[in-house]
């Protein structure tokens, strides 16, 4: 077993380095002024990029918009994927096969196509260039994962608890709130946080559906990545990561103090 232990420790530390290395590099590049090629550490540092970003009036608005959109898409995704997951796990019905294909379409079809056809639809419902419109388009890319989470959890707990609730006199609503939902609390939290993460990372969807009115952090960030403005890209990347980690740990806290069943 000794040899195995070393290899595993090596793999884990390798991966630890790969997960943390990007963070280190990004936080380093935020302050780089000049970094002549061959030397390992930057030649001169500067705060001017950081200050310019902090003072820019777009930043606070973009952060708030990003959070609102992320939370809205997470909520919508949970509301849609809970019943869908249940239907797939606990019932056999005719169109089941088609639905399970439909769910995976957003994962496979190139995002541009989805965005375009949705854009036209959203315009018809006058939802284009609104926070709700952007949250809806983000939901498309969140659903495949969240439906999967609920489907697996429903299959795991089976139908007996729910039926037991009914036979003991509980109606649909009380059984939902007292029996099924508590058992699903973990999945609700997991899907919610996954929704937030995926939404914060979206660019093309927010750009086209948001039409410039919905300015999230990634809208500002991506052009800087594309055109090699490394300092500004690092700063906005750092903000995006910080935003994601904060919302993730907040949600994780919420479900941590409930017993895990």
């Amino acid at each position: 077993m000794k040899k195995d232990k070393i290899i595993t420790k090596f793999i884990i530390s390798l991966f630890f380095m790969i997960c943390i290395l990007p963070l280190i590099i990004i936080s380093l590049f935020m302050f780089v002024d000049k970094w002549v090629y061959p030397n390992i550490f930057p030649s001169t540092y500067t705060l001017k990029y950081l200050l310019s970003v902090i003072q820019s009036k777009e930043l606070p608005k973009a952060m708030i918009t990003s959070i609102i959109v992320a939370v809205m898409s997470a909520v919508i995704s949970v509301i849609i994927s809970y019943p869908t997951g249940k239907a797939l796990a606990h019932y056999n019905f005719k169109g089941k096969h088609v639905i399970s294909i439909l769910i995976l379409i957003p994962l496979i079809v190139s995002p541009l196509v989805l965005v375009s056809s949705s854009h036209i639809n959203l315009i018809k419902y006058n939802l284009h260039s609104t926070l709700l419109g952007v949250s809806l388009i983000h939901t498309i890319f969140i659903l495949p994962y969240t439906i999967r989470i609920f489907n697996d959890r429903f299959e795991e707990i089976g139908v007996e608890y729910e039926l037991q609730g009914y036979t003991l006199g509980g109606n649909v609503i009380s059984t939902f709130f007292l029996v099924t939902l508590p058992l699903l609390r973990v999945s609700v939290m997991l899907s919610f946080s996954l929704g937030v993460i995926i939404s914060l990372g979206q660019y093309l969807t927010t750009l086209i559906i948001g039409g410039g009115r919905v300015m999230t952090i990634s809208i500002i960030l991506v052009p800087y990545i594309q055109y090699s403005e490394y300092q500004l890209a690092s700063i906005y990347s750092f903000i995006l990561i910080a935003l994601t980690i904060i919302s993730y740990t907040l949600i994780a806290k919420l479900y941590k103090n409930h017993l895990e069943f």
């Binding site: 007996e160 608890y161 039926l163 037991q164 609730g165 009914y166 036979t167 003991l168 006199g169 509980g170 109606n171 009380s174 007292l178 029996v179 508590p182 058992l183 017993l259 069943f261």
Partner: protein, 334 residues
């Protein structure tokens, strides 16, 4: 007026009949066992009575109320699943109180009822524990207490003892018999173990692929047995096939006078046969080929005119190879 009345219940899935014309009638407080091999539809019948599985046709009456189309939460028929399905996120107290909360009773009444039940099942000290902290037997008692709490018209038990070891089974048998008698609850239990059925219930229904082949008081099961498949299922009878010659059933071991024409089998229980050493040559003679010592009785396998006969008797002095003649005390022609 019977407490539970089921008339011609049928259910089929993709053309295959799961339940075909099942009819049962129970008085208040009776304990019926649904006995049959696995996959014979007894669990589906139980679920149908509980209202969690839809049926194609037939009626179900609790007392004089027609509950055929009543949704399960209003049907007042509680079921205890095979793995108990105790709500993992609720304490023992909340589990038992669940049904009462649904009836929107006041807190005090619920508390009184639940404490009383906890006394009966002797688990008052486990009131705030979670199901995963209980043993198999304790879980079952809580599940039953939860089912009884709302005073159902009928209690349905789905193979309640399959997960328990033998010693625990006996204690649980007694527990369920007492508690159902104490609250005189009409109970239907599903089991594939015939000893359990005979021991616990006063009525037994033997089910084979979706049909109730025989339904009787436990003591009359053997007396009124009439279906060869039931005989085979009970595995306590020797079955000898014979030919009918002018209203006599002639078999290898003798011919017997018959009443109805279509009967073709001579059946007799393993313990209804006596054997003794054969002195007289021309009497019927059988040879013992196998011998098993079964604890409180001995099983002998005899070959008699190429018919294989099994007998269970207390006497263990016979040996393999002895020649004996047999005497059938009690038999039936089916």
């Amino acid at each position: 007026m019977s407490e539970v009345k089921i008339i011609n219940l049928t259910k089929s899935i993709e053309g295959k009949y799961i339940l075909s014309n099942v009819s049962i009638e129970l008085e208040e407080g009776e304990f019926l066992s649904l006995l049959g091999p696995s996959g014979c539809g007894k669990t589906t019948l139980l679920n149908a009575i509980a209202g969690i599985v839809a049926i194609d046709s037939g009626e179900i009456f609790f007392g004089n109320i027609d509950v055929t189309n009543t949704p399960t939460n209003k049907r007042k028929a509680t079921i205890v699943f095979q793995d108990y399905a105790l709500f993992p996120h609720m304490t023992v107290y909340d589990n038992i109180a669940f049904g009462l909360k649904m009836k929107k009773l006041s807190k005090e009444i619920i508390k009184k009822e639940v404490m009383e039940l906890l006394e009966v099942i002797e688990l008052s000290d486990k009131i705030n524990n979670y199901p995963k902290e209980l043993s198999g037997g304790q879980k079952q008692r809580v599940a039953i207490a939860r089912a009884i709490a709302i005073k159902p018209m009928v209690l349905l038990l789905d193979e309640p003892f399959s997960g328990l070891d033998n010693s625990l089974k006996n204690t649980m048998h007694k527990f369920i018999m007492n508690i159902t008698k104490k609250y005189s609850i009409t109970t239907i239990m599903v089991t594939h173990d015939k000893n359990e059925a005979f021991k616990m219930s006063n009525k037994i229904a033997i089910m084979l692929n979706g049909e109730i082949k025989q339904i009787d008081y436990s003591k009359d099961i053997y007396k009124n047995i009439s279906d060869i498949k039931v005989v085979e299922f009970l595995e306590e009878f020797n079955i000898i096939k014979g030919k009918i010659i002018n209203n006599n059933l002639v078999t290898q071991i003798g011919s017997f006078e018959i009443k109805e024409k279509q009967n073709k089998y001579l059946v007799f229980k393993y313990d209804q046969v006596h054997i003794k050493y054969s002195k007289d040559k021309n009497e019927m003679v059988a040879e013992i080929i196998e011998k098993y010592y079964m604890g409180n009785y001995t099983t002998y396998i005899l070959m008699y005119n190429m018919e294989r006969i099994q007998i269970n008797i207390a006497d263990d002095k016979f040996d393999v190879g002895d020649k004996v003649n047999i005497e059938i005390k009690d038999y039936k022609i089916i």
